[in-house]
Symmetry: C2
Subunit: 364 residues, 2 copies
């Protein structure tokens, strides 16, 4: 049977419409792949193919990967099935890592939207890895979730196909700013966030503004730094490249870069941090160096975590609407699972600046 | 058939051992209740009883409550069944409310312990109510979880019985200090927490120490206040009852009580807050009144959330090992689901004081 690679006429299980009327001449009017045809081609029994589709572990690894390869080559698509559990349908929510206040905002957004739709949520942490381990995916396949929601994780091509062949939709809550192509995602406008934070500082009179962003290989970090640069261009303020730092998004990153930047004789009068946690680290570095915020140093965070309005000084920050992003992604996933068409496969929610106490006019 | 009320000889589904050799004279050697005997007594079909057991919604409410009542009266116990989903077993984790940094510590503890046992976690938020709604319980029954883990939620007697009759174990992560009787719980020693926080402040020379605890009808609040009182008794320091305040555990509670206490002419020199979030509120109140921490005011929090070491000043706090409590409860639940006996049905993990920057010697 000829390999089929076009996405538009993906064959489905028996009962789907026959071959398209106009078939490519070189391929011939191939019949859609079925469990039976896959089993015959692989030289295994139909139940073996079925076991693989259901994520059951009792299939030899070699057999399994051969069957997966055929499912992919024939663009096999199982018809959507009822979840095996008689009751409430489930979605899978997977984080590459659960960390403190940031994750809970996303969890709350998912819980609210799922509960409103009568859907349960299975929560997994992938142990800090960005590519979900196969055991996690097998467990998810076996429970036949309505769909899969990923936070800061990316499926590889083979894993994507495993979900596609079981007709399990997936959506990415894209906090990294780098949506995998063709995958429905909900993100936020990171470039705008960087722009508005920096405009605010420049408008206050700051001329030496540093940025501590997340890792340089995470796209959202670069987008925020580009927004920071554009604000400088716009205002005609020259950039000092030594004031741009990349670190991780956690407190320590902000603390260490903050100490380094603020110990310089030509220290910046303002720091735009890539996350609220980093901003906490910057505030701590300032305290240790005896610098008052905002009198001696203005600080802007990113995320608008609930705690930021309570710390001292209350933090000026960019509101990244994590809860709303998660809720939107959940509703998108449930729509896809119901076979509804979604008008946009890539949605960015707007960021906005929340001005509090950690920024002030600079007369320097 | 005579009602059976003793717990020790709870009858099980057909196939269980027969009636005990020595039966109470008034009851006679009654046969264990079965789905068939319940159906016959209720005048319904066997599948109807089965539907009720499986949490299926398509049974008339009146019929359903009649059957539940009979299941309870006969102390019916279904033999433990395999989960319906072919794959990974699941536990249900239910919070009465998901709030910020506090909840995520518990979620992380559950995730770690569940992942280590190859068990998935279904997370639910009960919308702020302490008694789980029936819809949530029905959904849980229908997916036949290995077990149910509750955080700050209590099942009523009927809901407990619904789980018991399906042989689904449940464990409470008891952050409230009030374990339902007979229910396996993991808590922490709140009285000791209050004692050690207050001893620390008294040893620093403070003689007017206020306490802002959680709601007075939550037992852990009262236990912490009693520890506070005992520390005063022990040190021979008289108590001013007007320095004991009960509020909620959130930032606002600490802020409002903090403002009231610190505006008094005879203001306290130290405040022991019932949670780290309350302590954040107290710190804010102090800032607004121009009081320096720790020079003018010492503050102790409770919980040791990760952020407390980063705020300024870093918070002296009582470590409530939320992550470990959740992990211990999860392992206990999985043991119960496996039919293993657990040596202790009530475990309190130790609290400990973590001294940081928000407390100092008082020379007043």
């Amino acid at each position: 049977m000829a390999a089929r690679t076009t996405r538009g006429d993906a064959p489905t299980e028996a009962g789907a419409p026959g071959a398209p009327a106009v078939a490519a001449a070189h391929a011939g009017p191939a019949a859609p792949a079925t469990i039976a045809s896959i089993a015959a081609e692989a030289g295994v029994s139909i139940p073996t193919v079925s076991k693989v589709l259901n994520g059951r572990p009792d299939v030899a690894p070699e057999t399994r990967s051969r069957i997966e390869e055929m499912l992919e080559r024939h663009q096999y698509r199982r018809r959507r099935q009822r979840p095996t559990s008689a009751g409430q349908p489930l979605i899978d929510l997977a984080f590459h890592e659960l960390d403190s206040a940031w994750s809970i905002e996303i969890i709350r957004g998912v819980e609210d939207a799922a509960a409103a739709a009568g859907v349960g949520v299975v929560l997994s942490e992938l142990g800090g890895v960005h590519r979900p381990p196969q055991e996690w995916l097998d467990a998810a396949l076996a429970r036949r979730p309505l769909g899969v929601l990923l936070v800061l994780s990316n499926l590889d091509a083979s894993q994507r196909h495993q979900l596609e062949s079981r007709s399990i939709p997936f959506v990415v809550v894209d906090t990294a700013g780098e949506p995998p192509e063709d995958v429905p995602t909900v993100g936020s406008n990171n470039w705008n966030g960087g722009l508005s934070a920096t405009r605010h500082l420049l408008a206050l009179g700051h001329r030496r503004v540093a940025v501590i962003s997340g890792p340089s290989d995470v796209l959202c970090s670069r987008a925020r730094v580009d927004g920071y640069r554009s604000a400088h261009d716009e205002a005609g303020v020259p950039l000092d490249p030594s004031l741009t730092r990349y670190g991780d998004f956690y407190v320590d990153g902000g603390y260490e870069h903050g100490l380094a930047l603020l110990s310089r004789p030509d220290r910046p009068s303002a720091i735009f941090a890539g996350s609220d946690m980093q901003a906490l680290g910057v505030l701590r570095a300032a305290r240790e160096l005896g610098l008052r915020v905002p009198e001696d140093l203005s600080v802007v965070g990113y995320d608008n975590l609930p705690l930021t309005e309570w710390i001292g000084p209350a933090l000026t920050t960019v509101n990244q609407p994590l809860k709303e992003m998660a809720g939107t992604a959940t509703r998108m996933l449930i729509s896809l699972a119901r076979g509804e068409s979604i008008p946009n496969r890539r949605i960015d929610l707007a960021t906005s600046l929340v001005v509090r106490e950690s920024t002030a006019r600079w007369e320097g």
